[in-house]
């Protein structure tokens, strides 16, 4: 490539954490700035969408796209950046598997609007106004992007070349990905990069013994032993159904894995896999006992698919 490679970063339906995750490479940011031209990065630079639209197709060497596709604007930018970029990377779990915004797929637009604009205790909206996609003002028409019923992943919207999991991706993994890109050493397209090929359990140093659980606990209910496997202590830990790469960060901090690195290689549906793993530790020899123990798990879909609902087999709750 002539001159420095051109790189873009974008955020769609995300919390901003993935942009912070890029900053987490710290002083290496200076190396990055020397090695590439950053042509678009809304969180850090003032460049308008029109400027991107004016770029030539495939003129960006790599675009790191974080955030899920929640509304029309997200979708427009996904299509635009796909066209403008040679390599499109789904950076972070929202772009990769839908992540926390994907839990919105348990509701629909109407329910979400009702909660956010009318029902939430901190909202005063006596006229019950809801966002409109266009509105006439004296100064002219204003527009808002349409809000979708269903959150999609980036790959459900446009073709994606690479996937970097994590909520957010860990700094050393981000740097490893950037280095591989700069050296032209990225693997074959379609790969998950910046992560391991095993599960979080494989990276977790906790002692794993006999898995027999007679009582499940939510994280706020007990202070777990710091050395023993969390699942064995009756805490739903997503480690068995989650790709390695974070270094078992949450279990190291005495918290269960929440599943943010997405399914391990070969697993189609992260929630189904975690459900099986959790059921397998239930210490029950009768149907009644098993039913009693698993009923202690408060919210199966929200727990097993905390990050993976939008990319699961069924993708969302049934729309009426």
């Amino acid at each position: 490539m002539a001159g420095k490679p051109k790189v873009a970063f974008y955020w769609a339906a995300s919390c901003g954490g993935c942009d912070i995750a890029v900053l987490e490479i710290r002083e290496k940011l200076l190396d990055l700035a020397q090695a590439v031209d950053i042509v678009f990065w809304p969180v850090a630079m003032d460049i308008k969408y029109g400027d991107v639209e004016a770029m030539e197709d495939a003129s960006i060497d790599a675009c790191f796209f974080n955030g899920a596709i929640r509304n029309e604007e997200n979708e427009h930018l996904a299509r635009l950046l796909r066209a403008k970029s040679k390599t499109l990377v789904a950076y972070g779990s929202c772009a990769y598997v839908g992540s926390i915004p994907g839990l919105g797929n348990l509701s629909d637009r109407q329910e979400i609007f009702e909660t956010v604009y009318n029902e939430s205790p901190s909202t005063a909206n006596p006229q019950r106004l809801l966002p409109e996609t266009s509105y006439e003002l004296a100064e002219g028409e204003t527009e808002l992007p349409a809000f979708f019923n269903t959150v999609k992943t980036l790959a459900q919207t446009v073709p994606v070349d690479y996937f970097v999991p994590g909520c957010p991706p860990q700094a050393h993994q981000t740097w490893a990905v950037l280095e591989a890109f700069l050296r032209g050493e990225l693997p074959s397209p379609g790969s998950v990069i910046g992560a391991g090929e095993k599960t979080v359990c494989d990276e977790c140093e906790r002692v794993k013994e006999d898995k027999k659980v007679g009582q499940f606990h939510r994280v706020h209910e007990i202070i777990p032993d710091e050395k023993k496997c969390l699942l064995e202590q009756g805490i739903v830990c997503a480690g068995p159904a989650t790709r390695s790469g974070c270094g078992a960060l949450c279990p190291t901090a005495n918290l269960p894995c929440r599943g943010c690195y997405g399914p391990p290689p070969g697993v189609v549906d992260q929630g189904a896999k975690l459900l099986s793993a959790v059921a397998s530790v239930v210490d029950a020899d009768t149907e009644e006992e098993a039913a009693r123990i698993v009923s202690q798990i408060a919210d199966p879909i929200g727990t097993f698919y905390r990050f993976g609902l939008a990319s699961s087999l069924l993708r969302r709750r049934k729309l009426h």
Partner: protein
């Protein structure tokens, strides 16, 4: 959602040793059974990964059955059906959270000697799902893409 002429499609994962034998016996004995059930023989109901059930619903099943040997004791492998009864109550709740009506998913035990029980289950379930109408999960997802919502 009810359509004229709708015929439910039910996918049944049956264990080789008990319920499959029951279904076979029901056929041999010429018991009345609807044509709506597609049987998939598995070696054990404990082999049924929850993703099989989700995939069946995604790919067009209007109902799914998982059935094996009565616990305790009937399982050919000793405790395979224990896995089933530890897993299925969670899957049942998960499916309800997905908005899939309770009656579209049935799991339990039918021994090789209970052919009439199998025949009755298929009749009742088909009848009930005929009332519920098609689930058409993939069609719903495709419709969502078309409408762009």
């Amino acid at each position: 959602m009810e359509e004229k002429g709708f015929e439910p499609r039910i996918v049944a994962f049956l264990c080789n040793w008990c319920t499959y034998a029951a279904a076979d016996a029901a056929g041999i004995s010429r018991m009345e059974q609807p044509l709506n059930v597609d049987v998939i023989r598995v070696m054990c109901s404990g082999r049924v990964d929850p993703s099989f059930v989700l995939k069946a619903f995604l790919e067009g099943a209007d109902g799914v059955i998982v059935s094996g040997c009565h616990p305790p004791g009937d399982c050919h492998y000793g405790e395979g059906n224990y896995k089933t009864f530890r897993r299925m109550p969670l899957l049942e709740r998960l499916l309800q959270q997905y908005g899939i009506e309770e009656e579209r998913f049935r799991w339990g035990w039918i021994s090789a000697a209970e052919a009439p029980k199998w025949a009755q289950l298929t009749r009742k379930m088909t009848e009930r799902i005929r009332e519920l109408g098609p689930l058409d999960w993939r069609g719903r997802l495709e419709q969502m893409e078309i409408e762009g919502v």
